[in-house]
C-alpha cells in the first residue's frame, strides 16, 4: 500500500523529520528550564510529540499497528504526568 502512495511519501517523511527536530528542540527546555514545572511541561510536550511521531510512522510504513503504539504512549505519558505532579505537590505518590 505504501508503494503506490507516490505523492504521500515525501510529505510524510518531511513531517517525520520536522517532528523529530521539534522534539529535540523541546529537550532544550527540559535541560534549561528554571523550575521543576517547566521541565514537566517540556516532558509532557515531548510525550505528545512522540505520539505524533508514532502516528506518522504508521503512515510512512503502512503498518496500522503503530497507531496502537501511539495510543499506548499517550496513556503512559498521561499517567507519568499525573504521577510527577502528585509527587511535586505531596512528596509521595503511594502512601
Amino acid at each position: 500500500m505504501a508503494s503506490e502512495a507516490a505523492l504521500l511519501q515525501p510529505v510524510v517523511n518531511a513531517g517525520l523529520i520536522l517532528a523529530a527536530a521539534v522534539t529535540l528542540l523541546a529537550g532544550y527546555r527540559v535541560i534549561k528550564g528554571p523550575t521543576v514545572p517547566d521541565r514537566m511541561v517540556a516532558l509532557d510536550t515531548i510525550g505528545t510529540n512522540v505520539v505524533a511521531i508514532a502516528a506518522l510512522f504508521a503512515l510512512a510504513t503502512g503498518r496500522g499497528l503503530f497507531v496502537t503504539v501511539s495510543l499506548v504512549l499517550a496513556i503512559i505519558g498521561f499517567i507519568s504526568t499525573i504521577a510527577v505532579s502528585q509527587y511535586v505537590i505531596e512528596g509521595d505518590i503511594i502512601e
Binding site: 504521500l8 523550575t35 511541561v41 505528545t48 510529540n49
Partner: protein
C-alpha cells in the same frame, strides 16, 4: 488509493506538523511556566490530533482508523487534565508570574480545600 485521498492525508500531515512547530516555539520562547503550558497543551495536542486524524483518513473507519479516533478522544480528554495538574503543582510550589501586574485571586474561604 487515489490522488484526492493522498492529498487529504498530506494536507492533514502538513497541518499537524505546523501546529507541532508552533507549540514547540511557544514552549521555548514564552517567559513563564503558565504561558509555556498554554502553548504546549493547545498547539501540540492539536498537532498530534491532526496526525491521528490523517491516520483515520488513511486507514478508513475500521481497524487502525478506529484506534486513531480513540487516540484523538483520549488526547482531547487528557491533555487539559495534565496541564491543569502541572499548573496546580506550580501554584503550590509558589512559582511566580513573569510580570508584576498579574497575581493570583484571593481565596474565597479557607475552610474549603481546593
Amino acid at each position: 488509493m487515489n490522488a484526492i485521498h493522498q492529498l487529504v492525508v498530506a494536507a492533514l500531515v502538513a497541518v499537524g506538523t505546523f501546529f507541532l512547530l508552533v507549540g514547540t516555539i511557544g514552549l521555548i520562547r514564552f517567559p513563564d511556566v503558565y504561558n509555556r503550558m498554554h502553548a504546549s497543551s493547545k498547539a501540540a495536542t492539536l498537532g498530534a490530533s491532526s496526525m491521528l486524524f490523517a491516520g483515520f483518513v488513511y486507514y478508513g473507519p475500521q481497524g487502525a482508523g478506529l484506534t486513531s479516533l480513540v487516540g484523538i478522544v483520549f488526547l482531547f480528554v487528557t491533555a487539559p487534565t495534565g496541564a491543569h495538574l502541572i499548573s496546580r503543582s506550580a501554584h503550590k510550589m509558589g512559582v511566580p508570574f513573569y510580570g508584576q501586574e498579574a497575581e493570583w485571586p484571593e481565596e474565597p474561604d479557607e475552610s474549603r480545600s481546593d
